[in-house]
Structure formats: C-alpha cells, structure tokens
Symmetry: C2
Subunit: 330 residues, 2 copies
C-alpha cells in the first residue's frame, strides 16, 4: 500500500497534527512513459509551511487534500520510461508519500560521490545551493569582512557560514540553543555564535562584531534582522533567504514586512548622493537639457527672511511646502 | 550685522521654534586666503532634521550652539582668495546665516544657464542629482515598467518621476494634498497620483498599478513603503532615498527600521535559488570538493517513518531539529 500524507486543513499559526491526514491507497501502476518511484528519504524544509497557507507566493499554495509536497531521494521500482531503469536512485519531488508515479520530468540521477545519498537533499542539493549562491551572488563576501548567519546550525546556514570562512571572513552565527552554538563554533569553525533565546542581541552583536557587519545571511527575518540592521557598516549586503520567524505568524507584522522582497527577488538599497559623484556631470548635462526642452517642470517655494527659516523647516517636515523650499535672505 | 540661526536645543519629535536661537553678530573680516560670502538663498531640506539629532548618521550631528547647516547660493562680497572675485555668485554650504567666511573649499561658481539661480539648490543641485542618480543607478527603470514615487511633488520626487517618464515608464506619484496630486498629474505629467492622507493605499496602488510595481523611489519609508511592498513584482528595485516619515519619530519604529540601509548605502535583496541555476554546476563542483577536503562539515537529523513527518515539520518550525531534517521512509 501507498502511505500518503495529505494537507487536511490550513494551519492557523503553528501547524497541528490534525492539519495533516494520513491515508493508505493502492500502489499505482506506471503507464506507458511513466515510472514508479519508491521514496527512500523525504526532505523536510521550512518552505513547506508557506505552501500550506492559502496565499500565493513564488509557488502556488497546495489545495486541501493534496499530498504534501517535498523533495525526495527515490528508487525506481518499475519503469516504462526510456530514460530510467528499475533499481536506479534519483532525486525527485515525489512529496510525502511512499510511492509516486513520474513521467521523468525533473528527475536527476544521484551520483553519491562517496557521500550518503541524503546529501542530495541537503548540502549537495537545494539547501546547499541556496547557501552557496545567495552568499556569493548577493552577499559577495570579501576576505577580512564580518559575516553574520542566522539559523546557523541549519541545513542552509551551516553551509553558508562555512563558505564564508573559506572566503576568509570573520563569521558569527546565531542559533537557538547552547548546544547548537557549541556545534557552530567547535565543529563548523565559526568565530562566534550567539544564542538568540538567551542573549541580548544588540550587546552580543556588538561584542562578536567589533568592526560591524558587512554581510548578513538572513534565514529568519524578524527580530534578528531588526537587531542586525543596527550594526551594519557602509556598503553592507543582506541576502534575504528565509523568513522563519514569520512562517507561523497569524497577522501581519508591525512595520515593513520584507517577505515580498524574498518572494519577488527584489531589493531595497540605501542611497546617498555623495557616492554617485561619477555621474554628476551626466546629471547636470541631461537635466539641464531636459529643463530647456520643457521635459522637466520644476516648482519652487521661496520663503523670505532667515528669521522665517525655523518655521519653514518645521513646515517642510509636515509636508506644508509645495515645491523646492528655500529662503531668500534679505 | 550677521544674522545667524543656531541650534539651541535638540528637538523632541517635531522641531519647535524654541529649538532655534537667532543671534546678531558682527560681520566677520576675511583673512589672507579667505573670502566673505553673503547668503542670497538658503536651501531647506529634510536631511537637516537628522543633523539636529544627537545620533551619528552618515554625517556628524550638529552641536548645540552651532549655526544650522545648509546649502546656499552666496555672493562673494570680499575676497582675499586667488580663485574668487567680489561680485561672483557661488554655490556654498554657508548655513543659516547672512554672512560667512570661507577658504574656498567646496565652493562652485554657478552658471545660471538661463535658469533662476535657485535651481542650483534644487533641480540642478543636490536634490536633482539625488533624483537622477538614485533612479537610474539603483532603480534602473525600463520602458513600460511601473515606477512609484513618494513625496512626488517635492524637490527630489518631482524630478525622479519626470525622469522615469522620460525613460518610458508608467509613473504613479504619492503626495499629501489634492492640490499637490493635481500638480503632479497635470503639470508634471505623472500617469496618476495618490493622496496619502485620504486614500486607502492598498486599494489605490492596486488601481493605479494594475501590473504591479517595478520600481519604488522611496522618499519616506514608513507606511507608504509597507504598502508598496505588498504590490511589488519579481525583480523590483527600491532605492531608499529618504525617511521623512521617521525624521520626527521619538521612538524606534515597530518592525525592521531600514534607516541604517540608507545611512550605510546597504542593500537587502530577496533570494530564490531557482534564479541561480547558472551557478548550479559551480556549486556542485566546489561544495563537493570542500566536503572531500573536510572544509565543510555537515550534520543530518533523520527521522524514521512518513507517519512522523508532520511532527517533524512542526518541530522544524520551532527549531527543534539539529542538522538537516529528512525522513527515512520504511
């Protein structure tokens, strides 16, 4: 029989056992061009919580009654597909069930390369690739910089932090127990690790990152991100990879919710004009000609007398001016 | 006499007239290598509120008793400096006073090019350059995209939005009165403008941006940013240029405060591994060899039996697993 775990109900907050429903159904027969997979290992990953929710994210939500989705290491037990033979082990996306049919799309043969085959679900699979690409493509760590990693003992954070060490960085982890912190520093070789449940984050970050934070590899968002932002240095990069602190939330968080940045692979970047002097000449040339051509209109709001400058600034901060505010002096 | 406006007291929240102190002092005499400037126009800009606060930002705070800082259009009334002659008009940073001494550093002769000289404090000065560089260097608008601009009738926003129109974008402004909104659409040529005080932002953004938001030129942060984030599309870019909604705040905002991103010209960027397939081969090659060399350690947390997958996922979201979580199936 095929054991299947279905989504029975959408969780309100933290998932409950009753949100899942386990059924036993006949093992299906592969048709022409199909193969039958038996699940050997199922990966569990935080993103699954998002798929249980009704809102659309980068992937569509599951429907009630669907087999829970998930990556698997599966064995081909019968094949009517030319590309795969019985007995082969493949990386699949067969979900929470012991057997699944496949048409071969998205399957990949696993070369264990001397490692446990479960590594294909982790360090050599999607979580490892997430660690590698987000750190190097967005974080761009340079030797000597300080990199902070949240969920540091997890599948993604543990790999991201070690790659940052290989890149020559000072690496500080954040994890949820003293045991995990000890593992992060002693086994993984991070320079320090902060217990997010017991430490005062600001104090601990100041101590662990005396030169400030250049890269924050963010698996959590929430209060950890809030605190890290208070300690970043000029030109810091923050790959936003996970939102673990928000996954079980039942209401919108206060303040800006950065989840859409992740879902949309979007960015917010701080700007100071003094960094862009290289474009000052182009600015002056182009805007001058756009003004001449009437393609840019410009309104001024001019106040008379230095004595009136305080009132005018107070009004500016209230939005009372209309156009560029300046003071005509005597 | 020289009229000077001094910082008398650090504001608590919105600045009050008593936070400023006006004094009259003798006009100073230029020494060798110095020149005497008379202020013709003083620019008032939102950043000044930050300098009145005690906390260090990208620039040091003013001290109590300092002349308020600010950009000026000034006339050289006496010069003992070889580079400038009496009667010339210069762009200076002489602050809130009618006369100032200068050693010439940072002064620039103004070529009015047929425009009012006050333009050097606005559309052809720092605010205009801020509009141009932040929009083009960070926002990177492409023809056909939707660009939203807050503080849209202001010195920066009005120029940023018009440049986005020149770039071929649909441009939606956000401003604080109906009169400003009418100016933004009728005179500046934006496609739409939302009154932030009277509109429901989510409803108005949905209506004005039916294809979502590609670029948000953010002059305000606060509730406008919160709402815009709910309507961005894949690959959106948000130059964070101003924090007007926070300048008068007396306590830290709830949720992540993005001010440090601006001050540090830092970025947060959302990441999805599926966008980075180009680096998949490099990832697998490098991480495999780091594992072989023992430079990456990896820990697994394997649970037995599909029936236990729900409990295991619940635990994962609580941080109860230790290492990469997967389920061994029968």
């Amino acid at each position: 029989m095929n054991t299947q775990v279905l989504l029975a109900r959408r969780p309100a907050g933290e998932p409950q056992p009753d949100d899942f429903h386990i059924v036993r159904t006949p093992v299906p027969e592969p048709g022409e061009g199909q193969l039958l997979l038996r699940t050997r290992f199922l990966s569990l990953d935080p993103y699954m919580r998002g798929r249980m929710s009704p809102s659309k994210s980068y992937a569509a939500p599951m429907a009630i009654g669907d087999v829970m989705v998930g990556g698997t290491v599966s064995e081909v037990v019968a094949s009517r597909h030319p590309g795969f033979a019985a007995g082969e082990t493949v990386l699949a996306y067969a979900g929470w069930q012991s057997y699944a049919l496949s048409n071969g799309a998205g399957l990949r043969n696993i070369d264990p390369a001397g490692f446990p085959i479960t590594y294909a679900l982790g360090v050599l699979g999607m979580p490892g690739q997430t660690a590698y690409c987000a750190l190097l493509d967005i974080g761009k760590p340079k030797a000597g910089e300080t990199v902070v990693v949240s969920a540091a003992s997890g599948a993604v954070g543990s790999v991201a932090g070690q790659i940052a060490k290989i890149a020559g960085c000072r690496v500080v982890g954040i994890a949820g127990t003293n045991e995990k912190c000890a593992y992060v520093t002693e086994t993984l070789g991070f320079d320090a690790c902060i217990n997010r449940r017991t430490a005062d984050l600001d104090t601990a970050l100041l101590q662990a990152c005396p030169d400030g934070i250049d890269v924050y590899y963010d698996n959590t968002a929430g209060k950890i991100l809030d605190a890290v932002l208070r300690h970043i240095v000029a030109g810091a990069r923050i790959p936003l990879v996970g939102l673990i602190e928000h996954y079980n939330a039942t209401q919108a968080p206060a303040g800006p919710f950065l989840g859409p940045l992740l879902v949309n692979r979007a960015k917010i970047e701080g700007f100071l004009v003094s960094d862009h002097e290289a474009h000052a000449a182009a600015f002056l040339r182009e805007v001058t000609s756009w003004l001449r051509e009437g393609r840019i209109r410009y309104r001024e709001d001019i106040v008379d007398g230095l004595e009136n400058a305080p009132r005018a600034l107070i009004g500016l901060l209230r939005g009372e001016n209309f156009g560029k505010l300046s003071v005509r002096c005597a």
